[in-house]
C-alpha cells in the first residue's frame, strides 16, 4: 500500500496519473472508432458473416451520388472560406477602431446567431427561403417586382447552394469577427501611429500591418473553416423538410449518413468516412504548408 502510494506520488508517474482519464476517452472514442472504421471500410459487414472484400467499398463508393456530394461539399467549403475570412477581417478592423460608434451593440448582434442551434437556424432559413410567394425571400423579391423563386431544390442549380452559404455566413460571421478582433487587439498601437506619421493611409496600414500580423488567426480560421465546410451535414438536412435530402444539397457526411446509418451499409459508410478523414487532413495539410505554418520564424 505504502509503495503504491509513493509510486503514485513519484515525479515520473504523476503526469500519467493525471492524463490517464483523457487517454482512456481518447482510446475508446477516437482511436478505436477510427481503427474500426478503417477495418470496416475493407469489409462487407453482415451480422455473423462479415468478410473482407478488399477495396470493393471504395470502388462502389465512386458513383454519381458520391461525386455530387463531393462537389457540393467542396463548393460549399470554398464559398464559405472566400467570404468568411476577408469580411470578418474588415468588420473586426472597424470594431477595433476608435471611430466606430456603438461597438458593443454591433459585437453582440453579430455574435447572436452562433448560439442558435443548427436545427433552429436551418428550419428558420427553410421557411425564409420557402417556395411559396408568401415566404420572406419571395416577399422581398416581390417588393422589388421580381417573380417568386423556388430556392431549395429548384430548377436553378445555384439557389440551394446560395441558401446554404448564406446560412453558414449568418451563423459564423460573428464568431470569425471575434477571432480577428482578439488578434487585432494584441497588435501594439504604436505600430499604427508610427506608420501614420510616415504617411501610410488607412488601406496601407490595413494591408501592411493588420493583415500580416493576424496571420496566425487567419490560419486557424481557415483550418476550422475547411474542416467545417467539408463535414457540413445538418444544415443541408434542415433546409429540406423531408428527411431525405435531395441530391442538390447532398454532402459527404449526408451521403455517409444515408448509406451508413439509414441503409445500414456499414462497410460502404466507413469507406466514405475514411475518404472524408483523408480529404480533410490532406486539404488542411496543403493549406498549412501554403500559408507557411510550418516555417520557423
Amino acid at each position: 500500500m505504502r509503495r503504491l502510494k509513493s509510486l503514485l506520488y513519484s515525479q515520473r508517474l504523476a503526469p500519467y496519473v493525471f492524463i490517464a482519464p483523457f487517454v482512456i476517452v481518447f482510446l475508446v472514442f477516437f482511436l478505436y472508432p477510427i481503427a474500426s472504421t478503417i477495418i470496416m471500410s475493407f469489409q462487407r459487414v453482415v451480422p455473423g458473416q462479415t468478410s473482407f472484400i478488399g477495396i470493393d467499398n471504395y470502388r462502389k463508393m465512386w458513383n454519381n451520388s458520391f461525386l455530387t456530394a463531393l462537389k457540393n461539399s467542396a463548393v460549399y467549403m470554398v464559398c464559405t472560406c472566400v467570404i468568411l475570412i476577408p469580411v470578418p477581417m474588415v468588420l473586426a478592423v472597424m470594431l477595433n477602431s476608435k471611430k466606430m460608434p456603438a461597438k458593443g451593440f454591433f459585437r453582440s448582434m453579430l455574435f447572436l446567431p452562433a448560439l442558435v442551434c443548427v436545427v433552429v437556424a436551418g428550419i428558420t432559413f427553410r421557411l425564409i427561403f420557402g417556395e411559396r410567394p408568401g415566404a420572406l425571400m419571395n416577399s422581398l423579391l416581390a417588393a422589388f417586382g421580381a417573380e417568386p423563386v423556388k430556392w431549395l431544390g429548384g430548377p436553378v442549380r445555384w439557389t440551394t447552394m446560395f441558401a446554404l452559404v448564406i446560412l453558414c455566413c449568418w451563423r459564423w460571421m460573428g464568431v470569425n469577427t471575434m477571432y480577428y478582433l482578439s488578434a487585432l487587439q494584441s497588435i501594439p498601437e504604436d505600430l499604427y501611429e508610427s506608420a501614420e506619421l510616415d504617411g501610410a493611409g488607412a488601406w496601407q496600414r490595413f494591408r501592411h500591418i493588420s493583415v500580416p500580423l493576424v496571420r496566425p488567426t487567419t490560419i486557424y480560421v481557415l483550418t476550422i473553416s475547411i474542416y467545417g465546410g467539408l463535414a457540413m451535414f445538418v444544415e443541408s438536412r434542415m433546409l429540406f423538410a423531408n428527411t431525405e435530402v435531395g441530391n442538390q444539397a447532398l454532402t459527404i457526411v449526408g451521403y455517409l449518413y444515408r448509406v451508413g446509418i439509414r441503409k445500414m451499409n456499414y462497410g460502404l459508410g466507413s469507406a466514405i468516412g475514411i475518404f472524408l478523414l483523408v480529404l480533410t487532413l490532406a486539404v488542411n495539410l496543403i493549406q498549412l504548408i501554403l500559408t507557411g505554418f510550418f516555417r520557423k520564424e
Binding site: F18, R107, L110, V116, W170, M178, I261, L276
Partner: protein, 285 residues
Amino acid sequence: MSNMANPQREKMKSRMAWSVAIFFALIWVVVTVGPFIFMVVNSFRDKKMMGRQGVLHFPDPWYFQNYPDVINNGFFGFFFRSLLIVSISLVLMLIISSFAAYPLARMKFKLRGFLYAGIVAMMSVPMHVTLIPVYQMTNNMGLINNLFSLLGPYVAFALPMSVFILTGFMMTIPKEMEEAAVIDGCNKYNMFSRIILPLAKAGLSTLAIYNAVGMWNEFAFANTFLNDIRVKTLPLALGAFKGEHSQDTPLILTVLTLSALPTVIVFIIFQDKLVKGMMAGAVKG
C-alpha cells in the same frame, strides 16, 4: 506627404469611407437580426392568418395560443433532458480536461510531445467519421434510446479543443506560486487542487459556456442514438413537432423561439465571458 498638404480633403475622404463602412455594417446587422425577428414575430400569428397576411406585416391580431400549445405538448421534457445530459457531460469534460492539461502545461515527461501532437491531430478529425463505430458500440451495449449514450461522444468531442485551450491557459499562470508551494512540501496533487485549479477558474468557466452551447445544440449523434420520442433532446424536438403539425408554420416557429431562448438568455448574462472565451480559443501563433 499628400495628407499633410490637404488635410481638409483627407478628412472628407475618411468620413466618406466610414459612412460607407457603417452602412454595410448596418446591413449585416439587419441580415443577422432579420431571421430572429421573423421567427419571433411569426410565432405570434394564427396559422390561418399566415397565408392571408404574408410575413412582412405584423400579426393582426397578435395570437398567443401557440406558446401554451407547445408547452403542453411535452416541451419541458425535451428541455430537461437536454439540461441533464449537457450538465453531466460538461462536468465530466471539465474534470478530465483540467486533469490532462495540468501535466501538459507544467511537467516534463517522456510522452508529453507525443500526447500534445495527438491532441492537435484529434482536433482535425471530423467527428462524423466515428459515427458508425460509436453507433455499433452503443447498439451492442443496448444503449440505443438511452439518453446517457450521448455522454461518451459529447465528452470526447469537446475534449481535444478544451485540453488544448486549458494547456495554453495554464502555461500563463506564474510559476513562482508553485515553487513556493514545493518549498512548503506540497505534492503534485495538492498543487493541482489548491493552486492550479483555482487559478484556472476563468479558463474553465469560458470553456464551460462555450462547450455548453455546442452540446446544447448537438444534433447528429442525438438524432442517430435516440429514436424514441420519450428520450429525445431539445434539438430533436422540432422533428417531433414537425410530424404532427407539418403545415403549421407559426407553431414550428414557436418551438424554435422557445428552444433558442435558453442560449440567448445565457448569452445576455455571460456575454463578456463568452466573448473572452472565444478569444482565448483563438490560437496566438
